[in-house]
Homo-oligomer: 451 residues x 4
């Protein structure tokens, strides 16, 4: 079923001669596609192909191995969930428990309550034995039935806890901090010459884990966020000069804001931290928003929380000694934007009905939708396969829709961010029709230096 | 952000020595993964890399070109939807209309009503002018607001219709038959030396288009199908010896049945056309079902409609002249299975409460969920980009999550089917825990030859 | 806050002189409202008001009594669920368990598995101890976690079972048959001079319990049924001459069909057993449907399953000896209607795309929506209050939105049916705009007598 | 089908002698039910029954009259929507338009854009002609497609607008302020001796209209609010000492908070303006919350926004001159509560993970659920019937589930509030198990007087 080169040839009616009117940015990069760009037919390779292909060889593929490292008779597994909620955590746990129980015949699986805290012998928390019965219905509920916690703990204490509980395999479901913690646990395990496998399942509603197509729960979050935007659109349409602002999660990256924007099809302006813009001045955001309201009478704005940093720095006013004074008290981009928009329209003497929606926890506490349920099931089972095969210091990733093993150090190397010249952001621009905003000048980004 | 080979190395605790107890089939193929299997880091290439990589070069990447073939001032576009319903059709149409109107400035876009019938001058149907206003809310509704139709029509008539309407670009949203029709239309266009671009958007709830990751609407259908299975599970649990059978669409392939099975996490037996099995005899389906009921008191069965063919042939009894007599009247696998199960349990003198659920049209008539909405938006816009650049005889595909141009002949070359030795089916086996059923013997599949 | 008569006077602009064009039926009864019709301000009364008001005094109000009959220290309660599924059963059970545990301090509550069968000592089923922990999450799931069963059992055996388990209070959640069974159990209890309270909670998806506003789960079912009709509407719109037929539950009454019809706002014809009609002939259903298709090109038909009886009898053809021969094999109104419509359009030489949807179990297996959750919570708690106060041979009803005690004999006296001259059916007529169909002549209903 | 007194008699096992342990409040009033309390069988009466029954006669029943006041040939109808969003507005408009068009044959129906502003000739807004086509799909969307506005306008201008547009019937969908405005419009119409009918449809998400069972959209709002509480519960369970606070709408009454609390079944504390309580001190809210956290480790709190007034007054500290200083800046009860809880736990040295959820607009911008869709359909049609019959200065109410005519003056006489001694609040107490909080002393409610 592999096509040959001839079969892949695309017909054209003739040479393309007209310049495209599509208003893509040349500034952000080569947003246009050229005809020589290709998508490889095959993405699964074998290690021995490396040399032949002269290409960097890829990720190790995840999945069940024919030979395994741990003897199922004598293996004890601990599962821990850390950080914030995310749709599908319970699905991952359930898949792990069922795979261990039914496929590997393991009878000692434990849930560590309330994150790494539950590993700390001094926390006074007991591990929860997990058999199929305990996880029978958990996937129908959001959250983590094990409980989670944030915060750093002493790595030595945690490895003490692992040893105390006799755990051979630790599966940690968590975000960036958790995975860094898991890596340190692995290092301490190596130092102590223990034989404990540490396998991570990356969890973040921001979907910004490097070398992973997508993290679980993200599509569910997009679904909920879309509903929020629909509500905002309804509110904006319901009032004369109605502007609705929706704030979505995304500390460093705007994936949720961008994806929900496209899914909704009703957003006029999508603001993400990866694409800087000026608030004020000609073609600044407020100016463009005002023009739209004068023309169309309503607008929907989606903003990722991570816009706060640059926006507020940029917008700061300076006191006598040249230090930035933030116009808004907190560091929350939502109220900040609300305040700026209100002030701008007041100054422009343009009536405005402004609605602000912050769905916050509603986005992350729902059960996984069907796509995420499928995703979580495979993540959980592949985590088991990896651990049982003796893989360690590794997370389960997915790359081009195939499950992979990604070394922990690589997975936490950097955060994935929206590529302003890439396909996702182009889709946002096409859906919203938003113009290129005025960009902060380099100076304005260093306000303290202004004379 | 490209990792080097060293960064991709996965740690192991030591050599894996135990044979895996995971009950994967060796018969279906190498279901286990070996450590040398790799997933390529980069999947986007440039044509000129072809030689360097010595690998078959891939699909042409879709997207907006800097130079286009058609002059937006004088281009007329027709959109047609054919076949059965599928979530997201209206989203695709909306994206096409908005992209043409706002980005390319095209003012002559038409919807062809009721499939290719609407192109036939003798059908007495008028094209519907499509501007942004007409498509403002359509994405919130299932179905196709243009109407669809099935059935073959004379290709000459259809090209007459295109010429009559002065159409330069025809975008056809439809399934296998539609795409074959579009290819023939293209051939007739070439024969008549016309300059009309023909671009397809593949549509099938069965998700079985070749060289496409996935077709739009599929994930929405999985969501609805999962709900149906949840209902079945509830029914099965609610009765002593409760068996619930859910029939799902899938004429040649079981993608919907398999995916909904994994998403639901409650299915005990998933039956698809790609994986043959015996109904009767030791370790036949009925025998295995009976054992499960005796042990657990309830069971959920999901069957793809396409199992009908082989099952019924296989199960036929022979009359005096050696012809097959079908036990069941029709060719619907649902009632057939219901009948067989009832008869088996009656013969086994085992009480049974059997519930049969056929969600049929409910699965395909809903609006697109968020993931599909995003998918459809890009499909529609890329169809416009392709057509405006003068691409023709092509469909918009998606490969490794990247949008591509797939020649029509390639896209209709064959149907995609579940690989019994691949990752998807392995996930089904792991989730259901279903055993390998007894397989029909080669003879039994040729019943007429039996002496 | 009680208004006086003067405050209730409604202003009019003057005498109404024009005859109303609203096409309401005079045949079905006084569908029009006259100005003298009133809705009482107060509906809660006190027994002693009876004489003063000279009106039949009403139902005993449900709720917690200050003095109770059973000593909480020594009371054992059994809960049993019978018949088919209905949204909210688990909510009712949960409310009963929590009320008994937290409010009355009762420590011996049991679930009887699989209906009355679980009471029969010979069934080999053990009662399930129910504490708050066991019911913590059950309301999030459809069905009954206790399991249900249909069918008659020996009343003596069941009372033996109650005595064997030492049960003081039996709360039975079930339909007509269950409540009749509960009444017989009460009679046997009286005969044996036992002190066991029997309290019922009526459960039927058909919403046809007499002297009850509504039964629990009904509004949830309407919600799901509406979704089904929306799907049907989408299918009908998607095809030229598209007709979609939805069959809904309702053996003797069409409440579900009627309510879902109004909720959907997209139905053209709603057929219920309470309002007879002719299939054939001028202004028969098929004739009217044909006219609509010729005019509008699509139609949505909702039919209650209970139409089967009269329709099929009416439509029967007679053999030589005057016996009815049913045109269709089974007694299922859905396939019957599908067959008749197809035949009629074929005879009329009118192309037709017919879609048939039978949501069946999907309507009844979902969890309760919010309204039903509230309803179920109060039903369960009031069942406890009634039983603890020593009420017996009684069900919890709701009348004018107030919870009541209805004697079992009264609750099973007759079934509630749609009043063709009442408000609900008028709303159906207004929403659908369906005409009065030709009515079967009295002779046609007695086919055997035809000469 | 009317039962006689004998049939209504409820059996008891014997005299109730034990005092009930159910912890109902005696302070709030007679929360227990006594056996003499009755619910009337019949609630529909005829005016002429008034004397016979010696009871205050009830509301005029709504519905189509056989004779009407306006000549359908020459009647022009205006529809206006005012105030905030509420699920179902579009359904009401659609029902009005369809009833006018199809049943009364009226061809001049207009939507007034953006509330009463659209009637003001100086606003420069044109009425929108409404035919069935314009409202075909509107019920699938939340909001009001006509737009709404708040604020007072000159009554004379509005009646000028009505005259200018030649409107005979004005149907106003709106809240308290709108209905008061409609009443004044009626008075001005009378003053000018015009023949214009003014009919209102009460709209408020707070469900606090007097003499109306319920207002439309409320049950949909409860459904969404329940989802919010489920999310809060998930968050609270996910953290050690997790407290989740949900703020819901309800300026003067806590119906939404109370109903969503019961529907959710997961709330531990429900705070409404009708039931005052102390924050501080022994058995104050904070003290009770702390006890619960120490015992159970998590808690869900639902608070109606209207609690702000009394709480903040009550909680104010006094400056030197005896004036209240509010601890929190604004008057928003949510942040206030969040701040108080945090401070209390900090003072108690008890770790706390506090999540605050304010679903705000999400609750009111969704489309109507099935129950509300049915409700809205009848409201709209009954508004038409009333207006066409010449009724004026009236709203459509629903009383004991029957549609009524309520004079505008009566409908705006006072707001409906939760009766602390009634059935709804008892259900809240039973579901939450919350204790009676310490009540503010009369002095504390007049802080200025404190010496």
């Amino acid at each position: 079923m592999t096509p040959n080169a001839e079969q892949l040839v695309v017909q054209t009616l003739g040479p393309a001669t007209f310049p495209s009117p599509v208003p893509l940015s040349r500034r952000l990069g080569p947003n246009f596609v050229d005809d020589g760009m290709r998508v490889a037919v095959e993405v699964e390779l074998h290690e021995r192909d490396g040399e032949r292909l002269r290409s960097p060889i890829g990720f190790e593929k995840a999945g069940p191995r024919e030979k395994i490292f741990f003897d199922p008779e004598n293996t004890r597994v601990g599962i821990v969930t850390c950080g914030g909620l995310c749709p599908g955590i319970n699905n991952v746990i359930r898949a792990i428990v069922l795979e261990l129980h039914y496929r590997y015949g393991i009878r000692s699986t434990f849930g560590i309550p309330y994150g790494f805290e539950g590993l700390d012998p001094r926390a006074g928390l007991s591990p929860i034995p997990l058999r199929p019965k305990e996880v029978q219905h958990v996937h129908r509920h959001g959250g983590s039935f094990l409980g989670l916690a944030r915060g750093n703990r002493d790595i030595g204490d945690l490895v003490d806890g692992l040893q105390h509980l006799g755990i051979d395999v630790l599966i940690a479901i968590g975000g960036d901090g958790t995975l860094r913690g898991a890596h340190k646990i692995h290092e301490e395990i190596v130092r102590r010459r223990l034989r404990i496998a540490v396998v991570g399942v990356p969890k973040t509603i921001d979907n910004d884990v490097a070398f992973t197509d997508e993290t679980f729960g993200f599509e569910t979050a997009v679904e909920v966020a879309r509903g929020t935007i629909d509500a905002a659109h309804t509110e904006a349409l319901g009032a004369r000069n109605g502007v609705a602002v929706v704030k979505l999660m995304g500390r460093d990256s705007g994936f949720l804001a961008a994806s929900a924007t496209i899914a909704s099809m009703e957003v006029n302006f999508c603001l993400v931290p990866e694409v800087p813009f000026e608030m004020h001045g000609d073609q600044g955001f407020l100016d463009v928003l005002e023009k739209r309201i004068r023309k169309s009478g309503h607008a929907v704005v989606v903003v990722a929380e991570g816009c706060a940093r640059s926006l507020m720095a940029n917008d700061g006013e300076h006191d006598a000694s040249g230090n930035v004074r933030y116009a808004s008290g907190g560091n929350d981009v939502g109220p900040y934007l609300r305040e700026k928009i209100s002030a701008h329209f007041k100054a422009a003497n343009l009536p405005l009905v402004l609605k602000y929606i912050d769905p916050s926890y509603l986005v992350r506490s729902v059960p996984a939708n069907a796509v995420d349920a499928i995703f979580c099931d495979s993540l959980g089972r592949n985590a088991v396969h990896a651990a049982m095969a003796g893989k360690t210091d590794v997370v389960i990733g997915r790359w081009h829709r195939i499950f992979t093993h990604v070394p922990l150090a690589l997975a936490t190397w950097e955060r994935r961010r929206i590529e302003p010249a890439g396909d996702l952001w182009r889709a946002v621009l096409e859906t919203t029709g938003q113009p290129e905003f005025r960009v902060p000048s380099p100076e304005s980004l260093r306000p303290g230096v202004r004379s």
